[in-house]
């Protein structure tokens, strides 16, 4: 086959973000029981309602079974072998960035997310989360002038507990699924966003999640509330060091959009994926859901999933408000022995609701890439429409792709449209590009970007460029 040696060389291309920060951390003992849940809540000095929320979730989780319906195979997770709270040791109260451990700042610098006043990104506010805690959030004062709240969720629990109590768990109830219940019991930190009525958030907001320690899980929780006629664009990035063990990441993201509000949530997920033998890598079990509560509200998910050994993720929209809109644009790339089971759910409840799904799955190496999606039209969803397009691209002859679209309609006066395709990068296509002087690697990435164009067009500009580069990097040498 084509360039066998080249292939072997570049698959070994190191994961750029695989370093570990040597920092003193505070960890609690391994294992999970009611006392651990209480301990986490106590460490975070939480109000009673939140401790109750956690305990209730924990009780539910204990009665639940890990789901096995996804097209994923992985060794059983030992939940008693995980540390549920790990935080870098810092001064008790940090009043400014100057007091943050320089090692942490350096870490984020290395990841391309400078946090200090002099170097911080100018067009985007960043909340940086390191293992279980939020390290810093930039541009807070500037955002506050517009009434926008952007802080860690722990801080929101302290300063805006009314909002937390009102909305937490209203989109993804603790009993929603096994991993959501686990997260609800032990979540450590994450981001909180509140956009007041009529405000268009003056800059993009971004959270950057960094897993550093090898034996602790990461359970972050994000809550975004967009009041009437407000709008926000939120970006999420993630990386982790290379360990030969698997690390569990089980996050919950809840979005709420009121009348005429719009939330755009973009993710570039680049957790460590394990090596070419499938050793190590993140187990990524994530529940993301948005509720279009208000009339004409809109929630748009766009995701570029390139990392993790296992991805189990279905960012969804509950379309309650009349004429509300849900969107899902996804590129999922798997290589080597990665497995991804990802897609979306569009639940049309209100009348004249609209949803669009565009999913592009790329499988290379020996990976398995599945799209799983549900489109449901409820009894009141009269005049509602859905359009779905699911395309798969296979690279090499050992990868596989699946598509599992579920359609449930209880409303005859609604439209559902589904298109699907599968293609393979052929030797002839590669040869054609090469015979025009285009390098092998560039030829592959040109074809992959071409395949993903519809989705990249939906990403914020700087993200789209990053995604393009990331895909090229991940695919280097995967065609053999």
């Amino acid at each position: 086959m084509v360039n066998e040696n080249l292939v072997k060389d570049v698959v070994k291309e190191p994961y750029k973000y695989g370093f570990v920060t040597d920092i003193e951390t505070e960890k609690i003992a391994k294992g999970l029981n009611e006392d651990i849940v209480r301990l986490i809540s106590q460490k975070k000095e939480e109000p009673k309602f939140l401790l109750d929320f956690r305990l209730k979730a924990f009780k539910k989780w204990q009665k639940m079974k890990e789901p096995d319906w996804a097209a994923l195979g992985y060794k059983k997770i030992d939940y008693q072998d995980i540390i549920y709270y790990s935080a870098p040791k810092q001064k008790e109260k940090i009043s400014s960035l100057d007091e943050v451990d320089p090692k942490l700042l350096e870490t984020f610098d290395k990841l391309g997310i400078p946090l200090t006043e002099q170097k911080k990104l100018t067009n985007v506010a960043v909340d940086a989360v390191f293992d279980s805690v939020s390290i810093a959030t930039t541009f807070r004062e500037e955002l506050a002038e517009h009434g926008v709240i952007f802080c860690s969720i722990s801080e929101a629990v302290k300063n805006h507990s009314d909002l937390i109590e009102k909305y937490l768990g209203t989109v993804v109830p603790a009993s929603d699924n096994y991993f959501a219940a686990l997260n609800s019991a032990v979540f450590s930190d994450g981001s909180f966003v509140y956009i007041p009525k009529g405000v268009t958030c003056p800059m993009d907001l971004s959270s950057y999640f960094r897993i550093n320690s090898g034996d602790s899980g990461q359970f972050e929780r994000t809550l975004i509330i967009a009041e009437e006629s407000s709008s926000v664009s939120y970006l999420e990035g993630c990386t982790a060091p290379m360990f030969d063990t698997n690390t569990l990441h089980a996050a919950v993201v809840e979005l709420i959009a009121l009348d005429d509000a719009s939330i755009k949530y973009s993710t570039v997920q680049n957790w460590y994926a394990g090596d070419e033998e499938g050793i190590g890598g993140i187990f990524n079990f994530v529940t993301k859901r948005g509720k279009c509560l208000g009339k004409r509200s809109k929630i748009s998910w766009s995701q570029v999933e390139t990392g993790s050994a296992i991805t189990w993720k279905y960012p969804s929209c509950l379309l309650l408000g009349e004429e509300s809109v849900g969107e899902f644009y996804s590129v999922a790339l798997t290589n080597n022995l990665q497995q991804a089971d990802t897609g979306t759910k569009m639940i049309h409840i209100g009348p004249k609701t609209k949803s669009t799904i565009v999913s592009k799955g790329i499988s290379a190496g020996k990976s398995i890439n599945s799209y799983r999606g549900l489109v449901k039209m409820g009894t009141k969803a009269t005049g509602s429409r859905n359009y779905s397009q699911c395309d798969s691209m296979l690279i090499g002859d050992q990868a596989s792709a699946n598509t599992f679209p579920y359609i449930k309609s209880q409303q005859p006066n609604s439209e559902i449209e589904h298109e699907a395709s599968t293609c393979r990068i052929s030797e002839d296509q590669l040869f054609y590009l090469q015979s025009r002087g285009i390098e092998f690697e560039e030829a592959v990435s040109m074809m992959v970007s071409g395949f993903c164009r519809d989705v990249f067009n939906q990403l914020p500009m700087e993200f789209a460029a990053e995604a393009d580069k990331l895909l090229a990097l991940k695919l280097e040498g995967s065609v053999g």
Binding site: L433, S435, G437, M446
Partner: protein
């Protein structure tokens, strides 16, 4: 390297795919300014020869050499051959969904320019260059914004090939049945395009079944291939004779040899 040195030397070349011998000792030398035509029945190895010269990975050279500008290129990657000035016009140009024709042409042109130590062109400068070249093949600007060859008619695909040749300015162009599937007008456009692009420093190999292309572009040499070998070489009259008598006539040559 003198100007009179050969551009391409194929020496006693044998090649196979999946252990099946396709070429069985082909020799061919092309000097600057020469036009060679290769004719022969389907399956005689004409297309294979062109693909092997361009470096297609599906074929193994089992014997012999390919030299380009005096250098052996047997194990050179296809992209390196292209950058150094070998151009293959495809019989069936490949469709590449999602990749814009303009971007493809620009990346490809820049790869060749980089090799020639010429400045690479940005989007604006490239637009200027491509506009000029579009004239040669009478193509509409709208072709540039479409995906590479996707949804192109047969004639459009072939003109797109000649457009690429015009942009890459190769030392040698091997045009594999560029005339097949073209109507009379398109054939004229393609033929006049090829003539405009070629000059006293370039070599051309035309693989064809039909005299009508050779009426437009008169070859210096005509080679007849059969069963992986060149069995007869002559001047342009050989093609006329073939047109008249058909390939059956050439079967006798095989018996003779």
């Amino acid at each position: 390297m003198k100007e009179s040195d050969p551009i391409l030397e194929v020496e006693n070349l044998s090649a196979s795919t999946d252990n099946l011998p396709i070429l069985k000792g082909v020799s061919l030398t092309v000097y600057p300014g020469e036009i060679h035509a290769i004719m022969g029945r389907n399956g005689c190895g004409k297309s294979t020869l062109s693909k092997i010269i361009a470096g297609h990975p599906s074929y193994n050279i089992t014997n012999g050499d390919i030299k380009f500008l005096g250098e052996n290129i047997n194990s050179l990657e296809p992209e390196d051959r292209a950058q150094s000035g070998i151009f293959l016009g495809f019989q069936y140009p490949i469709e590449i969904p999602g990749v814009s024709n303009l971007e493809f042409l620009r990346v490809s042109t820049n790869a060749r320019r980089k090799f020639l130590n010429k400045e690479e062109l940005d989007t604006f400068d490239f637009e200027e260059l491509v506009k000029e070249k579009l004239e040669i093949v009478k193509m509409d600007h709208a072709f540039l914004s479409r995906s590479v060859n996707q949804g192109f008619s047969g004639g459009e695909k072939k003109r797109n090939e000649i457009l690429q040749m015009a942009l890459l300015e190769p030392k040698i162009a091997i045009l594999d049945e560029t005339d097949s599937g073209l109507d009379i007008d398109a054939l004229r456009i393609v033929a006049s395009g090829i003539k405009k692009i070629s000059n006293a420093q370039t070599g051309i190999i035309l693989i064809t079944h039909y005299q009508r292309l050779l009426d437009e572009i008169k070859p210096n040499y005509v080679h007849v291939m059969s069963d992986g070998q060149i069995i007869k070489t002559g001047d342009s009259n050989l093609a006329l004779k073939l047109e008249e008598k058909g390939y059956e006539w050439t079967d006798n040559f095989i018996k003779e040899t």
